[in-house]
């Protein structure tokens, strides 16, 4: 009885609670990332993982008595910034993809071998065509 109470209390202590929670979030996020096909959901899942990581970090910051460790909190902030930018970028890509394909799902990889490939360097090769032409001429003669 007493032991149980102690265990619970100890468990609820931030030093251990946050890490455990974080780990759970991380796992959940991973699961979501795998199971969900809609890309936005996947990005969300990644964010959940991220928050799991940060939760652990905060737990670390709050470790021990006294004021929480400023370094850890600084790190958390930086991390969040990075995560946000990454998310934004990802969402942008997804939007683009949705425009192209009509739904926010990845094409199956690997690229099948007879899919046509646009090559950005194809159009307007006259840009520096002068030498190119000459070299081509030489090639043709060869």
């Amino acid at each position: 009885m007493n032991g149980l109470a102690e265990t619970v209390a100890h468990t609820l202590a931030p030093g251990l609670l946050y890490p455990t929670g974080g780990a759970i979030l991380f796992a959940l996020g991973l699961y979501g990332l795998i199971r969900r096909h809609h890309l936005v959901l996947r990005i969300l899942a990644l964010n959940i993982m991220g928050s799991g990581v940060f939760m652990v970090l905060l737990g670390v910051a709050a470790r021990g008595e006294g004021a929480p460790d400023p370094v850890a909190q600084a790190l958390t902030l930086t991390g969040i910034v990075v995560a946000v930018s990454a998310t934004a970028f990802a969402l942008a890509l997804v939007v683009h993809l949705t425009r192209l394909t009509g739904h926010a799902v990845m094409l199956p990889g690997p690229p099948d071998d007879d899919a046509p490939v646009e090559d950005i360097s194809r159009e307007a090769h006259h840009a520096d065509g002068g030498p190119a032409e000459s070299s081509a001429g030489e090639d043709r003669s060869a």
């Binding site: 890490p19 991380f26 991973l30 990332l33 890309l39 996947r42 990005i43 990644l46 993982m49 799991g52 990581v53 652990v56 970090l57 737990g59 670390v60 470790r63 460790d69 370094v71 850890a72 790190l75 930086t78 991390g79 990075v82 930018s85 990454a86 970028f89 990802a90 890509l93 683009h96 993809l97 192209l100 394909t101 990845m106 094409l107 990889g109 690997p110 690229p111 071998d113 007879d114 899919a115 046509p116 490939v117 646009e118 090559d119 950005i120 360097s121 194809r122 159009e123 307007a124 090769h125 840009a127 520096d128 065509g129 030498p131 190119a132 070299s135 081509a136 090639d139 043709r140 060869a142």
Partner: protein, 494 residues
């Protein structure tokens, strides 16, 4: 007693970071002139790196005088951000400079549409800057940040063409990357929680084989394996390369992946060294063998030039994994591993550039229909072949020397009495054959009798740069001693 010029090293490395970041920022701020800025910047950075390496070597031969640690903004560890320059990072910086310079020159010819230039150069310069920082940064969190910078830039470049395939590939790459980074970060956090420091050197001093370290090691390694496209977590590689512009693929396979592997290597040489167990080595080695076989088989299957090259990357990284157990037996072997990575990066970059030229000329890179162009472009095919020789590990190329050293290490373990060593030896020796098979697959149709068609005109840059880089890769064999000596200037490493 520190030699006079050693004093310049801190300034030098800090300056390198500043310079490369500066160029990137400038190009971003002034996209109209991005390509000119990029070219000048590329030359400047390369020159800087070479100068730095000269200083560095001159500061040797004592690793501790050469290797340098710089506290940015005067904040010492554990609080401050540490840059550290040692043999390992120096080598990779030089490698980056060479490959990146070649890629930049190539891009001059490859990316010539005005709009695209504006988008391409800033991203590319950011990627390069990120890589420089990655190799220089000395603490775990910085590593995470730089990793992110690199991956985001890389993803953007992969998506560059804006086609469905490209974007989809980019998204896959991005998700994988973020997953990797997050699990890396989780590891970092655990370490920080355990020891309250992030600086690698300090961590190295403090870690011992505890459960937290183990958990951290697992998370970070797995994350990095994902980013380094190590078998069986390589699946994002081919799609990403499939549709990325040629220079981007070159950098992706040549440098970005190598960067992640560099991290794995550095971590396991330093921080996690106490954790290593024979079983671990064997597992990684087995993964390596798997990578060799699977990658090669896929390369033999794939029908598109760039996919073949991408899968060959997967296969070649198998060697690096196979080298792990060897390092457990003979710690000195890590230098061989790095040398191999360097040579591979050079060769692989030139192969991708050559492939890009062919793709440009033909308008596609389906091997089955590439014959006519291959026949008409002997120079490019020659570059392909020359780099291919290096990949096969045949003389007279850097690949041969690297292969030789690997094999030597492998046989060393066998003679030292490890049975599994035989497997490593077989893998190292046999990998070359598979490589030969898919390289042959790429160039063979150039020798068929048949129609010749130079296809689209290409700029002389795209014509000559691959050949040049391939030659460098082939002659890297001569730089073997130099590289190994440079690597020897890594304090703490065996």
């Amino acid at each position: 007693m520190i030699p006079a010029n050693a004093e310049w090293l801190p300034a030098g490395s800090a300056g390198l970071v500043a310079l490369s970041l500066g160029v990137a920022v400038l190009a971003t701020a002034w996209p109209r002139q991005a390509h000119r800025i990029g070219l000048l910047g590329a030359l400047a950075v390369t020159a800087w790196v070479l100068g730095l390496s000269a200083l560095f070597l001159h500061a040797g031969p004592d690793p501790n005088t050469a290797a340098t640690r710089i506290a940015l903004g005067g904040w010492e560890a554990p609080l401050g951000l540490m840059l550290q320059l040692d043999g390992l990072s120096m080598t990779l910086l030089v490698l980056t400079a060479v490959v990146a310079l070649a890629t930049s020159l190539y891009s001059l010819g490859y990316v010539h549409d005005r709009i695209e230039r504006r988008q391409f150069w800033p991203l590319w310069l950011w990627l390069w800057a990120g890589l420089n920082m990655l190799f220089l940064s000395g603490d775990a969190f910085n590593l995470y940040i730089t990793l992110e910078v690199v991956s985001l830039a890389a993803v953007a470049l992969v998506a560059f063409t804006g086609t469905a395939a490209a974007v989809s590939g980019a998204v896959r790459y991005l998700l994988v990357n973020i997953l990797g980074s997050l699990s890396f970060l989780m590891g970092v956090v655990l370490l920080f929680g355990e020891h309250g420091v992030l600086d690698l050197v300090l961590l190295e001093a403090r870690t011992e084989a505890g459960p937290t370290e183990r958990m951290a090691a697992v998370l970070m390694t797995a994350g990095l394996m994902l980013k380094a496209a190590l078998f069986p977590l390589h699946v994002w590689l081919a799609p990403a390369h499939g549709s990325a512009p040629a220079p981007v693929s070159a950098v992706l396979s040549g440098l970005v992946v190598t960067g992640s592997f560099y991290l794995i290597l550095r971590l396991w040489m330093g921080v996690f060294a106490p954790l290593t167990t024979p079983a671990f080595g064997i597992l990684v080695g087995l993964l390596g063998v798997g990578a060799l076989i699977w990658g090669s088989l896929q390369a033999l299957r794939a029908g598109r030039l760039k996919s073949i090259v991408a899968y060959s990357t997967v296969a070649q990284f198998g060697y690096l994994l196979v080298a792990f157990p060897l390092m457990l037996v003979d710690p000195g072997a890590w230098r061989v591993v790095v040398f191999f990575a360097v040579v591979h990066a050079l060769a692989k970059a030139s192969v991708f550039l050559a492939a890009g030229t062919l793709q440009h000329a033909a308008g596609h890179d389906r091997l089955a229909e590439l014959g006519a162009v291959l026949r008409a472009r002997p120079r490019t095919v020659f570059a392909l072949g020359l780099a291919g020789v290096s990949l096969m590990g045949l003389p007279f190329s850097g690949g041969f020397i690297a292969k030789y050293l690997l094999l030597e290490a492998g046989l060393g373990t066998v003679l030292a009495g490890s049975l599994i060593g035989v497997l490593w030896v077989l893998a190292i020796a046999g990998g070359g054959l598979l490589a030969a098979a898919y390289v042959l697959r790429m160039v063979a149709s150039a020798f068929h009798r048949g129609r010749r068609d130079v296809g689209e005109a290409v700029s002389p840059w795209m014509d000559w740069v691959p050949l040049g880089l391939a030659t460098v890769a082939a002659l890297a064999g001569l730089a073997g001693t130099l590289t190994l000596n440079t690597l020897a200037l890594t304090p703490g490493a065996p």
